[in-house]
Symmetry: C2
Subunit: 214 residues, 2 copies
């Protein structure tokens, strides 16, 4: 069965998955990039930019697992780029260069239609304008039995949580405060939605939690 998964989604101690004021220079909002420090030193992460070094510890295991058995991605438009409103032209193709780290179809939620973009390495960005259920159906069809990984941003994960569509999440909490930004859980009753924490594994860099629907 194809599952909808969230992986390596990182929160601050005070519950923010991204800082405020996302823009071209701060794709994760002010202070948001540092949330992911636990990830940047891992071999799996560094391999993505051609670097052979990096740690192979628990943090790396969670990064590696996040890419395993993924047949399609879904992400919100805020994760795809900083542009809001109508697409001014076809030039923005994501943050990730010509060969993005997805290598599978990626379904981008947006209110503004746009033709698919075929990138190098197997990534194609598809723009879905008819809602999160439709994006999930399309992603399932494309994933060919593998899982669908839900990226971000926070607002997108919140939408799928509220509809009980997420099967499991790997969350990390980084040892920092963000003060403001996008809060993952505010106003969402995770217990009522049927979620439980089934595992905790901590490293010096972050604490990892597995959250599943009962």
């Amino acid at each position: 069965m194809s599952r909808l998964r969230v992986n390596a989604f990182t929160l601050s101690i005070d519950g923010f998955g991204a800082g405020p004021d996302q823009d071209l220079k701060e794709p994760l909002g002010v202070g948001g990039e540092a949330l992911h420090n636990w990830m940047f030193g891992t071999r799996t992460f560094r391999n993505m930019s051609g670097d052979d070094r990096g740690t192979t510890d628990t943090d790396d295991r969670f990064v590696a697992r996040s890419f395993e058995n993924v047949g399609a991605w879904i992400m919100g438009r805020n994760m795809f780029g900083p542009i809001r409103g109508e697409w001014p032209d076809e030039s923005w193709k994501g943050w990730w260069g010509d060969n993005p780290p997805y290598h599978v179809p990626v379904f981008v939620l947006t209110h503004h239609p746009r033709d698919p973009i075929v990138m190098e390495g197997g990534t194609t960005f598809h723009f879905v304008t008819d809602g999160i259920h439709s994006a999930l159906e399309k992603a399932k069809a494309a994933a060919n039995g593998k899982d669908i990984r839900l990226g971000g941003g926070v607002a997108t994960v919140r939408q799928y949580l509220r509809e009980k569509l997420i099967d499991d999440m790997h969350l990390a909490i980084s040892p920092m405060l963000l003060g403001s930004g996008e809060n993952l859980f505010a106003g969402i009753d995770m217990l009522k939605l049927g979620y439980r924490c089934s595992e905790q594994v901590a490293t010096p860099n972050a604490t990892h939690f597995i959250i599943e629907r009962a």
Copy 2:
């Protein structure tokens, strides 16, 4: 210098320091007691009820430290008991029996005056009706140079945070979701208030964070 400290204050992954619907049977709200599972097995905690056994690991070290150099406590009325409104009589003397685990003066915030209660073992409950600043002044005078420990509940900690009166906090995050209850950080910008996380230590039972004012 006498500091105002929060220790062993535990949150769920989704940010709640207590569950909903506190009452006589559920002093920490529904689900709230399980937040503190990391603490119940420690030697320091078990010693409080005369049991010599218990773990002496990192979790225990945090519990032990929480009682060191404490000259007075401040707590909200919700931590003192389940009664709301006027005191119906003098019979309620806290959750902790004749010999509470404080052994120093305890200042209870309330809107309803009441005479002090002298308990066994050095604990005296004083009822403060003129606000959090007054309680802090009284506690400082009573602490005789030692620190003041701020207990709970969540609402009380939030009041002192907003006034930047807390010098440092030891928070623990337990590997569970509460779904609803009292959220510690909602609407509070910890960075703007000057707080930073200076330490993370994890155990299989909880992740401990030290948060200090810069």
